[in-house]
């Protein structure tokens, strides 16, 4: 059921997918790992779309060097916990949803507990070791992992449905070295909104997902490519998983 305020707020999108679609969004719980460059557009767009529960995890403090791209955080937030800054903005932009902002570093001891009963995981991280942990949780829980990565004017995104599509380790078996990466805010905006779009389509059950395809954005040429990806039967993360027909275990409960 929706309040009058919710009906007004979501009016323009309920024209697209009706009460039923909006109800799906309201019932959904999405886990967003990272409240930085990608986490900002992902969480803002999922919040305004009316995702009922958003869990956002980050352990950093807002630094001035973040502000060219991390649009959840303002100049006045420098020195604040990103989780505090993020929760405040998201709750202000949509008071009708629940935001859990958790100030913790994701590691192998807590990753599964943090994700909990979420319906999907958004990868808005800046390193592969932590991404691989979320990939494992996604496989274990059989929930989708919405991957994104950015560098300079370049970005990539793909949607991983465990058992159906290649997992992150099938696509990228080895991590690149960690670095201070150059980036412009618009790249984070393009890739982050692509990830948020995937989350909405997944929850609504509409359209073609970015599954088995790596979307590659080149902002210098304003050119998008996609590269088809296949599961690796010998993958150390998902190789043992039987092929599944696409489904949503969590949503079917």
């Amino acid at each position: 059921m929706f309040s009058e305020r919710e009906r007004e707020r979501y009016n323009r999108q309920m024209l697209l997918f009706g009460d039923e679609g909006q109800e799906r969004l309201k019932k959904a719980h999405i886990f967003i790992a990272g409240a930085g460059g990608l986490g900002s557009p992902v969480s803002l767009y999922l919040a305004v779309a009316g995702i009922g529960t958003i869990t956002l995890v980050d352990t950093d403090v807002v630094d001035r060097t973040n502000l060219n791209r991390q649009i959840l955080h303002f100049d006045r937030d420098i020195g604040r916990k990103k989780t505090d800054s993020a929760k405040e903005k998201l709750q202000e932009i949509n008071p009708d949803i629940t935001i859990h902002a958790i100030d913790v570093k994701i590691d192998e001891t807590n990753a599964a507990d943090l994700v909990g009963e979420a319906d999907g995981i958004v990868d808005a991280l800046d390193n592969y070791p932590a991404r691989y942990l979320l990939n494992e949780v996604a496989i274990e829980e059989e929930i989708p992992l919405f991957h994104g990565g950015i560098h300079g004017f370049y970005g990539q995104a793909t949607t991983i449905i465990p058992g159906t599509t290649p997992c992150l380790k099938c696509i990228f078996p080895k991590p690149p070295p960690q670095e201070v990466f150059p980036v412009v805010g618009v790249t984070a905006g393009i890739i982050g909104t692509a990830q948020a779009n995937e989350v909405l389509k997944y929850l609504l059950g509409i359209g073609e997902m970015l599954t088995g395809r790596l979307f590659i954005w080149d902002g210098v040429q304003s050119h998008a490519d996609e590269i088809c990806m296949e599961r690796n039967p010998a993958c150390e993360a998902c190789g043992g998983m039987a092929k599944k027909t696409p489904g949503r275990k969590k949503n079917e409960r």
């Binding site: 460059g37 990565g149 950015i150 560098h151 370049y154 690149p176 590659i216 080149d218 210098v220 490519d225």
Partner: protein, 92 residues
């Protein structure tokens, strides 16, 4: 014969995008990419290690199929191949 090499992300920044190149029949993957990458020392270092092997994170594809970097030195390219070379993009 001729093949097309497509670099993506950081590799594209350093080496350019769609590179058409003529190669002799029987040319293997590794020497082909080595020759092209050498045009920019920074591009070469981004893709190859000090022993001249592909860095372990580099993704190689030939006509949409993955080539294991361990097999790249003994995998020949053929006329008309489209080869993709890219790193995992890590920033967020």
């Amino acid at each position: 014969m001729s093949v097309k090499i497509r670099f993506f992300a950081r590799f594209r920044e350093l080496l350019g995008s769609d590179i058409m190149t003529d190669v002799a029949a029987g040319t293997m993957f590794t020497p082909l990419i080595t020759t092209v990458a050498r045009k920019n020392p920074e591009g070469y270092i981004a893709i190859f290690d000090e022993k001249g092997d592909f860095r372990e994170f580099v993704i190689l594809m030939k006509n949409g199929k993955r080539i294991d970097i361990a097999d790249a030195a003994k995998t020949p390219v053929t006329d008309g191949d489209e080869i993709a070379v890219f790193p995992p993009v890590a920033g967020g």
